[in-house]
């Protein structure tokens, strides 16, 4: 069977659709000449109509077959393997299936006869699928294209039809934002519910002990893992709190200075420079925290006679605070500048100094926006991953001592999900439980922050 890869099918699809574009464009002129009047829309609109109808539905079919087809074949072979060896447990069957797939595309070699036959069957099935995928897609494009272009009449306004079609596509792209949110909630919820069927929900929410080490094989003796998220949550809040202690004062004072005192020239220099700080990838801050800041704090602690952990919450939090400074300063700068000039003029006119105006008039007026900015920053600190993965610890100890090593929600998610883990494992599933908690926590903060800021914007409009 001829080999038809995705890219080839896609180019053939574009070719077919383009053919109908030009075909309809010419055809409508002939039809118009035949009935003896000008077509209602430009010839290219009829071309576009045929193109869209030939292209879009076939692309959807192509994507569907590309994603769903191999999955279906995998399922068929999974059942086949299980049928021939009914005693094997599920994970072993998936292992064999993975081996068959890898042998069939030549990634690994084997001498096992059974696997070799399965692999050649598998390859044949996939080739067949790809061949029929190509056939179905091109046929669909050709049939629909022919159908649409033969129905086109110079009296029908193709432009309206095309525009309606395009507006619908636009609508779908706008709705993707909703789809994404829904997909996030559903996928997190689905996996988290599977976790809660294995582990009590309230033990997860209020448990004081987090130790996700469970037996890898069922015959292995190991302590049953415990998944109480309180220590992890406390660690997250501790590091975020330290970050806020650094970021809020520095960010706010920078913003006040930039908005109220700085000359335009200083502003033009400082603002972009602070934006550089915002543009540095978090992995770089993580590197800095782990290799420069943590040893630095450790040295200082040592010289003061304190025992500072090499993965102290202080180092991770302080560096995270530096990362968040530009975030707070630029948001607060916008908020402060949004306070109407008339308020300042009124205050100054009554004889107040600039500082008094700022403290007594500008800041109180800007408070909702500032609170919003701070809340957004908190949500950012809680969801920040790389700094804590690189600079904070892995073991969950229930402490609020900033010199100790603590762990965070994001660190746990990363450590539970990287490396070779099985998807149905309770450890893997617990990561989704944490993910769900993280998502809802940040979602609440975001919604609250956005609604506060919006209220401010409305007040002075």
């Amino acid at each position: 069977m001829p080999n038809l890869p995705m890219s080839l099918v896609f180019f053939m699809l574009i070719g077919t659709s383009l053919f109908f574009y030009f075909y309809s464009k010419n055809n409508i002129l002939k039809k118009a000449a035949f009935v003896g009047q000008r077509s209602k829309a430009l010839p290219s609109h009829y071309g576009q109509q045929s193109f869209l109808w030939a292209f879009i539905p076939s692309t959807i079919i192509l994507l569907f077959l590309t994603v769903g087809g191999p999955n279906y074949i995998d399922q068929l072979f999974y059942d086949k393997i299980q049928e021939s060896n009914p005693k094997l447990n599920q994970s072993f069957v998936s292992l064999i299936l993975a081996k068959v797939i890898n042998v069939s595309n030549g990634k690994i070699a084997t001498d096992d006869e059974k696997i070799l036959t399965l692999a050649s069957d598998y390859k044949a099935a996939i080739d067949q699928l790809y061949f029929y995928r190509g056939l179905v897609v091109i046929l669909c494009a050709a049939l629909v294209g022919m159908f649409v272009s033969s129905l086109q009449s110079p009296r029908a306004n193709a432009r309206e039809n095309v525009e309606k079609f395009i507006i619908n596509i636009f609508f779908v792209s706008a709705v993707i934002a909703i789809f994404t949110t829904v997909a996030i909630i559903l996928s997190l919820l689905f996996e988290a519910l599977r976790f809660f069927s294995l582990y009590n929900f309230f033990d997860f929410l209020f448990g004081l002990h987090w130790a996700p080490n469970v037996a890898i094989r069922s015959d292995q003796v190991a302590a049953a893992g415990s998944f109480g998220m309180i220590p992890v949550l406390v660690g997250t809040l501790l590091i975020s709190f330290i970050a806020m202690c650094v970021a809020i004062p520095i960010g706010l004072f920078s913003a006040i200075y930039l908005a109220e005192f700085a000359s335009p020239r200083t502003r033009d220099f400082v603002k972009p420079t602070l934006e550089i700080l915002a543009g540095i990838p978090t992995v770089v801050y993580g590197y800095f925290a782990a290799l420069t800041a943590a040893p630095f704090f450790r040295e200082i602690g040592f010289s003061l006679g304190l025992d500072v952990s090499s993965e102290s919450a202080l180092a991770a939090g302080a560096v995270m605070g530096i990362m968040i400074i530009p975030f707070i300063s630029s948001l607060s700068d916008d908020v402060i500048r949004a306070v109407p000039q008339s308020l300042r003029d009124g205050s100054m006119g009554l004889g107040a100094t600039k500082a008094e105006t700022i403290y007594n008039v500008v800041l109180p007026a800007a408070i909702p926006g500032l609170v919003g900015a701070v809340l957004l920053a908190v949500s950012r600190a809680i969801g920040e991953t790389m700094i804590v993965v690189m600079a904070a610890g892995l073991s969950a100890s229930l402490t609020v001592n900033p010199l100790d090593s603590v762990t965070t929600v994001t660190v746990q998610i990363v450590s539970l999900l990287t490396g070779d883990t099985e998807f149905d494992d309770i450890k893997t599933l617990s990561a989704f439980g944490l993910g769900l908690a993280l998502f809802f926590f940040t979602l609440l903060l975001n919604i609250f922050a956005l609604s506060i800021s919006r209220r401010l914007a409305e007040r002075y409009d």
Partner: protein, 421 residues
């Protein structure tokens, strides 16, 4: 009394100013510290310790009937032995087994492989050849030559012992070993040996990923913002879309990684570690950023342009696509560049979808296993060898330089195309 009062009021103002200036200075000093400390860590990775050996190799063993070098035959040959015997010629006094082992530890474990690649590249004909080649010293010898390994600590705690130091020094004195430009860093992919590890694999991986991100996010963002600006009827659905976009912009990036893991990998069965999946996840993540920027850009086009087009009989779609969109394009482009810079520096979601694997091949397609630059930085800074730290730092310098130039480009474009209507 009043004068005294005024003085204290003025002092308050000065204090506020000082707070502001010192906060800004603190932030700028931190930026400088960050960049300088990484720069100081990383500049030395631009060089690598090499040693020169003259090797005589008889290619008759590897050529096939048509006088071409045969890969299979070459792979079977003991290249390491060739390099090692060449090295032993410099130190004839080394005879014992353990001592030999120590001697061979000062050269790269990949030296034999590198030699094979050099011979392959030269495409020598059949016969006996003498080559003078520069090969890598081991990472410990390299770090010692750069002065990054302190030799004050006791010998048994060091990664390089006194004997090996003496050998390296003697090579340097005889002008056989020296620091040269580190070519491998720019031309190879990851490796277990720091001296042969490079960033090219991850750069290509990042490029493939970003390509998917742009192709996915930009068209969607443009279509969504035109819809929301011109076609959406005010109502509950439109409000809901807007709330969603604003919220998605603030969702932690790792959550998008979880989404990718459970939807793209386990439901759709797309391959792990692939730039395709990475690009889609980063595309979903940057989509809100680009939509918000595009909408702002479309809104800044004066309504008169659109009204003029409508007045001359253009349809709403024609007015939007033919008149507003071209004028809004620079702004959309700026927003896209900023979104891409954000996506390029993002690490956490890529960890979730398995782009954190150790990959020695340079990726070639959108579905081959790959890693990305920030992930490479993360992996290197996690490894035990000191030599990986400096490579990590140098990779950071390149990444940050690239990101800053992307952002500068965005600023310049904005300045250039900014129009006062």
């Amino acid at each position: 009394m009043i004068r005294k009062n005024i003085r204290s009021r003025r002092a308050r103002e000065t204090r506020l100013k000082i707070y502001g200036i010192s906060s800004i200075c603190f932030a700028l000093i931190m930026l400088a510290t960050l960049l300088i400390s990484i720069g100081l860590n990383g500049y030395s990775a631009l060089q690598q310790a090499y040693f020169k050996v003259d090797i005589s190799v008889n290619t008759e063993k590897f050529v096939d009937e048509r006088d071409f070098l045969n890969n299979k035959k070459m792979n079977l040959f003991n290249w390491d032995g060739l390099v090692q015997s060449a090295l032993r010629e410099f130190f004839p006094e080394v005879k014992e087994r353990d001592e030999k082992k120590e001697l061979f530890a000062i050269i790269s474990a990949n030296a034999g492989y590198d030699l094979k690649e050099i011979v392959k590249k030269k495409a020598l004909g059949s016969g006996s050849h003498t080559l003078s080649v520069w090969l890598h010293l081991s990472d410990d010898a390299d770090q010692y030559l750069k002065g990054r390994l302190s030799i004050d600590i006791p010998e048994e705690d060091r990664r390089i012992n006194n004997k090996q130091i003496a050998w390296v020094n003697s090579l340097v004195e005889r002008d056989i070993a020296k620091l040269k430009f580190n070519k491998a860093f720019f031309t190879s992919a990851d490796s277990r040996e720091p001296e042969s590890a490079g960033i090219l694999g991850s750069v290509v991986g990042s490029a493939l990923t970003l390509f998917v991100t742009v192709m996915f996010a930009l068209p969607l963002a443009i279509m969504a913002s035109i819809y929301l600006e011109y076609f959406a009827k005010p109502g509950r659905i439109t409000d809901f879309i807007e709330v969603n976009i604003n919220n998605l912009a603030a969702v932690p990036s790792i959550v998008f990684g979880l989404l990718g893991l459970s939807v793209f990998l386990s439901t759709f069965g797309l391959p792990r570690s692939a730039p395709l999946v990475g690009g889609l996840v980063l595309g979903l993540m940057t989509l809100p950023t680009i939509i918000i920027a595009s909408r702002a850009s479309i809104r800044s086009i004066p309504p008169s342009i659109r009204e003029a087009a409508l007045g001359l009989g253009a349809s709403k779609m024609q007015a939007a696509m033919h008149h507003v969109l071209p004028l809004a394009a620079p702004g959309i482009l700026t927003g896209t560049i900023i979104g891409m810079a954000q996506a390029l520096g993002e690490t956490a979601p890529l960890l979730m979808i398995g782009m954190v694997a150790f990959i020695i091949d340079i990726p070639t397609t959108f579905t081959s296993s790959a890693t990305a630059m920030p992930v490479q930085i993360y992996m290197w800074s996690d490894s035990a060898e000191r030599a990986f730290y400096e490579r990590s730092s140098l990779a950071i310098l390149f990444l940050v330089a690239f990101l800053i130039s992307m952002n500068l480009l965005a600023v310049i474009l904005r300045k250039k195309f900014e129009k006062k209507w």
